[in-house]
């Protein structure tokens, strides 16, 4: 971590003051509107009676608060169950990805084995692989083995597929920057490779592992295509699959209830992000693809 490449610069000479600072705030606030307004609108509209969602004049704050939209979410769908599905799948995916990617990343950064660099380039192709390309054969395989309407494919694909390679890539970057002297000293003391990994490298990899865990959790929590293809029973749905399905008998969405369900899926993640955003962004910068 102390290596020269990690030194960070901000433009010291470009400290803004007076009118320039004011202009900067104005510009940034204007650009911020499409990033902030959707979340605000989602939450406020989820509290409105249905007539008010598209009423003229539009209200930025509900005139009538209708909390019952939220009760409606749980009446129309087994939402608590679906919430738990999303949560438990994401936790399992995170645990597997962190374990395998940390080990794999360490191996690719530190252990010399035959064909390592060629193998690494091959692995990198997974970073660019569109999910649609690999999904058809995986679907076929899962149907054949009777696993299609289970959680197995929606756990295995993110935990061992292309996303695991992204994780491996991030952890490899981290271990490459990691001072080798510590490990060398430990090896001289007679520690085995595995011991060096668990006793020396792993305890110092905390921040990188935390970022990887966050990325993996979000990846699984937000996964849509795979659960949509594999999960067919409402009891097994994850949140992204059920959110578009808050519709009346004619298939038209029930605006306020759908937005209440959407808020329930977004707001906890948002709260965690707002509390931890500094670490969050720094972690992604650190493990991220540095130039």
């Amino acid at each position: 971590m102390k290596s020269k490449t990690n030194k960070r610069y901000t433009r010291r000479n470009s400290k803004l003051t007076g009118w320039r600072l004011f202009g900067m705030y104005l510009l940034l606030l204007a650009i911020a509107v499409p990033f902030l307004f959707p979340t605000w609108w989602m939450f406020t509209a989820s509290l409105k009676p249905i007539e008010e969602v598209f009423a003229f004049p539009a209200s930025l704050i509900p005139n009538d608060f209708q909390i019952s939209n939220y009760a409606e979410v749980f009446r129309l769908q087994p939402f608590l169950r679906q919430y738990w599905n999303s949560m438990s799948i994401a936790i399992v995916v995170t645990l597997i990805t962190v374990t395998t990617a940390t080990m794999g990343g360490y191996a690719f950064a530190r252990i010399n084995f035959k064909g390592r660099s060629k193998l690494f380039v091959l692995l990198l192709t997974a970073l660019l692989m569109p999910a649609e390309v690999t999904l058809i054969p995986i679907f076929r395989l899962m149907v054949k083995s009777g696993l299609s309407d289970t959680f197995l494919p929606v756990i295995l694909i993110p935990a061992f597929g292309a996303h695991a390679v992204v994780g491996l890539f991030l952890m490899r970057q981290f271990f490459l920057d990691f001072p080798a002297e510590l490990e060398e000293a430990a090896e001289i003391d007679g520690l085995s490779r595995w011991k060096v990994f668990t006793k020396i490298a792993l305890p110092l990899a905390g921040p990188a592992i935390a970022s990887l865990a966050i990325i993996s959790f979000l990846y699984s929590w937000n996964l849509f295509l795979e659960p949509l293809v594999f999960l067919t029973e409402p009891n097994k749905y994850t949140l992204p699959v059920v959110l578009p399905q808050f519709t009346d008998t004619y298939g038209a969405p029930i605006f306020n209830v759908q937005l209440a369900a959407t808020s329930l899926s977004v707001i906890p993640v948002m709260i965690v992000f707002v509390m931890a955003q500094r670490h969050f962004i720094r972690g992604i910068t650190m493990t991220g693809l540095k130039g």
Binding site: R8, P38, G104, R140, L239, P240, L259, K290, G291
Partner: protein
Amino acid sequence: MAAPVLLGFIFLVLYPVLSVIRDSFTSYNPLSGDAAYIGADNYTRLVQDETAIEVAKNTLIFACILVPVNMALALFLAVLLNMHFKGRTTFRAIFFSPVIVSTVAWTIVWKYILQDDGPINYFLGLAGVDGPNWLRDNPWPMMSVVMVQVFKNLGMNMIFFLAALQGVPEEMYESSEIDGANRWQQFKKITLPFISPTILLVAILTIAGAFQVFAQVLLLTGGGPGLSTTVLSYYIFINAFQIFDLGYASALAVCLFVFVMGLTVAQWQIRTRWVFREV
């Protein structure tokens, strides 16, 4: 130690890619029970399929608008937020926040905002502008899909650029200031060359991502009106998982794969012309 990821890669990436190529030469359809080897029939069908040609065109239009807009805006914001002023971390967090929201949730909300009687047109109306029906009147549906995707993922690229900008040594700017270079010259002669490896990586990832846009199309426009927003990944999904014409869908998937890999290799090849340091 690398074994679990390697095994996963073999079963969930390598094997599927090879089988999708094999399947593309069959009439595989689980509904009709068909699985005959039919040679290159799927590919001749693909070349004659007017829908597929239209879809390929839409995919290219989508990528050609999305990639430059996304990257330019991300770099612009990164440069602004690399300056020294109070509140910049808050703005970084604001621009990053859609990245953590699921694409499905983000798209559902935008679908409401973009309705003909939705908030955007309401506010445009207050300004005296009669806004279009964003999701129905061409060319706005395609623009809407692009816009929703740009705001969703821009934050990630912004952070990559920010990390790269923070690696540019301050001394390089100082010495050029002595030489009398202005801000724009500094940006062109120092910043851009220095961060060019990151620009390359971000370009590769953004282009690959542009070819995978799916949920936005399904939920915003359903590929319509007509075919105007149907892109390749969505067309594969329809063929594979709605009409279960898996053989033909496999041929389309092979095309998508060739597209993405071809573009990546091409970018990698021309990198020596404009990337000034090794990645």
